[in-house]
């Protein structure tokens, strides 16, 4: 029941202070040896990093392969390797243009490390069987259209010249009732435009397909997949495809790239975008802050040198212990910078304080080692224990982060106690500065402790109320940079039937597949269950009958391969003349005919190239006839008749079938995503696919972090009282962390900053920073009396937090939305932790006499 300040130093860490003092003094004395040892260690560390450390950017690598949903995903990847790790080109074009583009890209990419370029929907199969894929009413309407166009087509095909076209029109005028008038009108109108444009700059070719089929094949969304030869050639393949696409001229449709590989590259480059500049700015800012905080360029340089050295040693430890960094464990660097700088700052500021009060450099070092060393040891042990508590979690990302960061903290402690004192030999004399903690801050929280504690309790209550609103954003697509092609394509597709967010189920044989597909297709969350069988046209008998009838009525006399000869100028002119005269002789020609007559007159008055006119008017005809001829040869379609590339997407090489479940709702909405994933997983336990992986992944991450933080809390709760030998002081030391965590969570809920896969890695840093601040301040209160903010400790806490803030706040402006949310989360969290340390912790101390 004594006041903290008067408590005798009997706790174990207090006794260890003597040891840290000795270590610091020894390092100061043997600076040469220490520096040489570190030089050697650094060399070894660089070698270890260069040879043993690789970065694995695959998000899937974060998860343990034994997780059930992860096993299903791996199984699917094994069965259908070509559907994974693709580069996909997306563009809008009709089939003809898409084929030409495919051929062009094949040409550009002949030497690229690709094992295949796949576009099943462009297979000639669909040319022949396309009519079977129309609905029966659509097909019947198309047949009626073709029948109506047949008299025109049939006549012109017998004489495919400008003269033949003119004669056909003359015949139309003679038998005005032979064809529906609106159809004749449309044809004449289109022809008038073509003739009028034949002499001009921008020519309008006669759209035969449009005229014959009522509608032209409108450009639709096309997909071409590029499959890299192997994992190691993915980057090169992407570069090659990007270069090929960039080389396409303006005459090609605009091609955009997406696919797993492209998405990753876009994400990484956005994350790296401006990273160098922002890192340089951060470094400058940190240096400046250290210079102001430590009031010495030399001390700032010493702190930075120790920081960089410790970071390298930690990376080397990671290289030797784990061998790789994943997307989460790479955050160890952030953690290290954020926490290890604290150690240096506390030690250096205390040393400076002692120097200014008259001690010589050596004594000051030993005294600082004694005064702060215990606190450093306490911080390091508790924080490292907290991080090591992450290791047993199933989430490999978190578990490895815990291992590396825990070790990093201990390395940071070691460099602070050995390298830092050795470097202090060259620190030079210290000068006093005017920077002081404002007296009101030192005094006020303690004096008005009732008010401060009431306010803190009110904030905590409010935060606790807001807490249920805190959500986890399951969808990693929301973290990606918004302005890349791959992200825009995702946003366009996610609403429709081509959404990339589908679930997949594997089935052993066709019968089981059909049964499963029918069952799963009934789920309310499923719009459609696709499988190999659903690629076969429905109602084939009825449709084939319509097609056979059409072949008989329209196709039988149409040539499959029509060749346009060279224009016979005099014959064509005579026929045009005759047609124009005939139109001129009409009493009141319909407007389209009148326009055609005028266009012909103009063309005859200043005749252009007759071959150009022929191409304008008839150039599209052979293509139409060839397509028509092909599509009238449709045969019953079975699974084995489908294009091999297409079949391979639905039946694996080892004979298993894939069922794809298309969601009924837009899964960009988190609630819909969760419902879809849960419903599908309940109905088909071995289902996989992006939505299920997102949700299961998020749950794994959440569970892993929850587990890790509970374990860390237990470790801290056991260690702190054990080391401090005071339950009350332990509570006080942990108070900024506990309250800060609650307030940060409440604030994030209130401003709708959801937790996600990216910003969740801010939490361990907040844990470490919050805990360390509390421990340092309690230590000061126990040993020096007065306000814990007085002297070097308050200043050190402030400088350390500000340095960490300045190194990470810039992330908030990253184009990568995940990074930005991480930056924001850290900024808010660290500010709240600082406020709790400076305002609430002093208020928790016993009243001073």
């Amino acid at each position: 029941m004594q006041a903290s300040a008067r408590r005798p130093a009997t706790a174990p860490v207090d006794r260890w202070a003597t040891a840290t003092a000795a270590l610091v003094r020894a390092s100061f004395d043997g600076a040469g040896t220490v520096l040489a040892a570190y030089a050697l260690l650094l060399t070894l560390a660089v070698a270890a990093i260069a040879t043993h450390l690789r970065v694995d950017a695959d998000p899937a690598a974060l998860m343990a392969d034994e997780l059930p949903w992860r096993r299903a995903a791996l199984e699917h990847e094994r069965a259908f390797p070509d559907l994974h790790r693709q580069i996909v080109a997306v563009f809008d074009a009709d089939t003809e243009d898409a084929r030409r583009l495919l051929a062009e890209l094949h040409g550009w990419l002949a030497d690229a490390p690709l094992r295949a370029i796949v576009a099943p929907q462009l297979d000639s199969f669909f040319e022949r069987h396309g009519l079977l894929y129309l609905d029966l009413p659509q097909l019947e309407a198309l047949a009626a259209d073709l029948d109506a166009a047949q008299p025109l087509l049939g006549r012109i095909a017998r004489d495919p010249t400008v003269a033949g076209l003119c004669r056909t029109l003359l015949a139309l005028l003679d038998h005005a009732d032979a064809l529906p008038p609106e159809r004749v009108e449309r044809f004449v109108d289109a022809m008038a435009r073509s003739v009028a444009s034949a002499a001009g700059e921008r020519q309008t070719a006669l759209e035969w397909t449009q005229l014959a089929m009522g509608t032209a094949e409108s450009p639709r969304r096309q997909f071409i997949s590029f499959l890299p030869r192997d994992r190691s050639s993915e980057d090169e393949a992407l570069r090659a495809v990007r270069a090929a696409v960039a080389q396409l001229g303006a005459q090609w449709p605009k091609v955009r790239l997406t696919g797993e590989i492209t998405e990753w590259d876009d994400e990484l480059s956005a994350a790296a975008d401006g990273a160098l500049l922002s890192a340089a700015l951060s470094l400058a800012l940190v240096t400046l802050l250290l210079r102001v905080g430590l009031h010495s360029w030399r001390l700032a340089a010493i702190a930075l040198a120790a920081l960089v050295c410790g970071l390298m040693l930690t990376a080397a430890a990671a290289a030797l212990a784990v061998g790789r960094l994943n997307l989460i464990s790479i955050a160890f660097a952030a953690l290290y910078i954020g926490l290890a700088i604290d150690f240096s700052v506390h030690l250096l500021l205390r040393w400076r304080e002692l120097r200014l009060s008259g001690a010589d450099a050596r004594d000051a070092a030993a005294a600082a080692g004694r005064d702060v060393g215990g606190a450093l040891l306490l911080c390091a042990l508790t924080t490292a224990a907290g991080f090591y508590a992450f290791v047993p979690t199933a989430f490999r990302g978190v578990s490895e982060l815990g291992l590396i960061s825990g070790t990093g903290i201990l390395i940071g402690l070691l460099t602070s106690l050995t390298l830092l004192p050795a470097l202090l030999r060259c620190a030079g004399p210290m000068q006093a500065d005017a920077l002081q903690m404002p007296a009101v801050l030192l005094d006020w929280p303690h004096r008005r402790r009732a008010a401060v504690l009431a306010a803190a309790a009110a904030c905590a209550a409010a935060a606790a109320l807001a807490l249920p609103l805190l959500r986890f954003d399951y969808n990693p697509m929301h973290l990606r940079p918004p302005d890349t092609d791959s992200q825009r394509i995702y946003e366009e597709l996610v609403h429709g039937a081509d959404t990339p967010l589908t679930a997949v189920v594997l089935a052993a044989d066709a019968a089981a597949t059909q049964e499963q597909a029918e069952r799963l297709g009934q789920l309310p969350v499923v719009r459609e269950a696709r499988w190999l069988g659903s690629l076969l046209p429905q109602d084939q008998d009825a449709k084939l009958e319509v097609i056979a009838d059409l072949a008989l009525s329209a196709g039988a006399a149409l040539p499959a391969a029509l060749k346009l000869g060279a224009a016979d100028v005099s014959r064509d002119r005579a026929a045009l003349q005759a047609l124009a005269e005939r139109i001129g002789a009409m009493d009141a020609p319909p407007p389209a005919w009148q326009r055609l007559g005028e266009a012909i007159d103009r063309w005859l008055a200043a005749p252009g190239d007759a071959n150009v006119l022929r191409d304008q008017l008839l150039g599209g005809l052979p293509g139409l006839l060839a397509r028509l001829h092909a599509s009238l040869q449709a045969q019953p379609v079975t699974a084995d008749a489908l294009p091999a590339d297409l079949r391979a997407q639905w039946r694996s090489a080892d004979g298993r079938y894939r069922i794809e479940l298309v969601p009924a709702q837009n899964l960009d909405d988190d609630e819909a995503l969760r419902r879809f994933a849960d419903t599908v997983a309940a109905a088909a336990p071995d289902a996989s696919g992006a939505p299920l992986e997102y949700v299961a992944g998020a749950r794994t991450v959440q569970r892993a972090f929850a587990q890790a933080f509970i374990a860390a809390a237990v470790a801290i709760a056991v260690l702190l009282p054990l080391l401090l030998r005071s339950f009350a002081d332990s509570l006080r030391a942990a108070a900024p962390l506990a309250l800060g965590a609650l307030l940060t969570a409440g604030l994030c809920a209130a401003i709708d900053l959801p937790l996600n896969f990216a910003n969740i890695i801010a939490l361990p840093l907040l844990l470490g920073a919050g805990l360390d601040n509390g421990v340092h301040l309690i230590w000061r209160a126990r040993h020096a009396g007065g306000s814990p903010l007085a002297g070097s400790t308050g200043r050190a806490v402030l400088v350390a937090v500000l340095t960490t803030l300045s190194s990470f706040a810039s992330l908030a402006f990253s184009p990568h939305r995940g990074m930005a949310s991480l930056g924001l989360m850290l900024t808010l969290g660290l500010s709240i932790m600082l406020a709790c340390s400076f305002l609430v912790l002093p208020a928790l101390l016993k009243p001073r006499p």
Binding site: E140, A143, A144, L146, D147, A148, Q150, P151, L153, G154, R155, I156, A157, R158, A178, L179, P180, L544, V546, A548, D549, A551, L552, S553, A554, G555, A556, A557, A560, H629, L632, Q633, Q635
Partner: protein, 208 residues
């Protein structure tokens, strides 16, 4: 060795009728020529008797009726279907009577017979021309389907223009606007009109 060959031969011969497809076409052409040569001397009744018989002999009128009406065919009751087939048969004969009633030295020439590529069920296409001394030849392409031991015409392309396609467009618009009953009425009225013209032509011919 011998058995498979025999089987192949058998298969090859099975769908084929006893006579070539062109035989049906040529019988029709002979009747048309006779009608033309009859000229104004031939009464309308005589001409129709001749052509009706030829159409009945060379055309698969019931098949043609089903073909031109497409899905509307099923909406006719059996009696209506029979009426339509009869109207169609009559219409073909009347049309021929209108267009093949004068002779100025024309003759028919069969130019070829091939299998229809786009059809699955063994139809054949017979190409022919009507040659005249003072006009460009008119081409006729017939699509025939096997029927018993002969071939029956199911479509005629005159200068590339499909008779079935023309009729479909025409019937579709009538059925679409007024329904199937109107189609039967309109076909009957059209036949009346053609018959009146046929009679007129004969009378003026006789009087002139």
């Amino acid at each position: 060795m011998r058995l498979p060959i025999c089987l192949c031969l058998l298969l090859f011969m099975m769908p084929a009728a006893a006579e070539p497809a062109s035989a049906s076409v040529e019988r029709l052409h002979a009747a048309l020529l006779e009608s033309m040569r009859g000229g104004v001397q031939m009464s309308c009744a005589q001409r129709l008797q001749l052509l009706d018989a030829a159409v009945g002999d060379s055309f698969d009128v019931a098949g043609l009726a089903r073909l031109v009406l497409r899905r509307h065919w099923a909406s006719l009751d059996r009696r209506q279907q029979a009426t339509f087939v009869e109207l169609l048969r009559r219409n073909i004969g009347l049309n021929y009577a209108q267009h093949f009633a004068r002779h100025a030295g024309e003759r028919f020439e069969t130019t070829g017979e091939t299998a229809v590529e786009t059809a699955a069920d063994g139809q054949r296409r017979v190409s022919a021309r009507l040659l005249a001394a003072d006009a460009e030849p008119v081409s006729f392409d017939y699509v025939l389907t096997p029927s018993g031991d002969s071939w029956r015409i199911v479509n005629v392309f005159a200068d590339g223009v499909s008779d079935v396609a023309l009729r479909r467009s025409q019937y579709d618009s009538v059925v679409g606007r007024q329904g199937v009953a109107a189609l039967l009425e309109q076909a009957a009225a059209q036949n009346e009109d053609l018959l009146r013209r046929c009679n007129q032509a004969s009378r003026t011919g006789e009087s002139g």
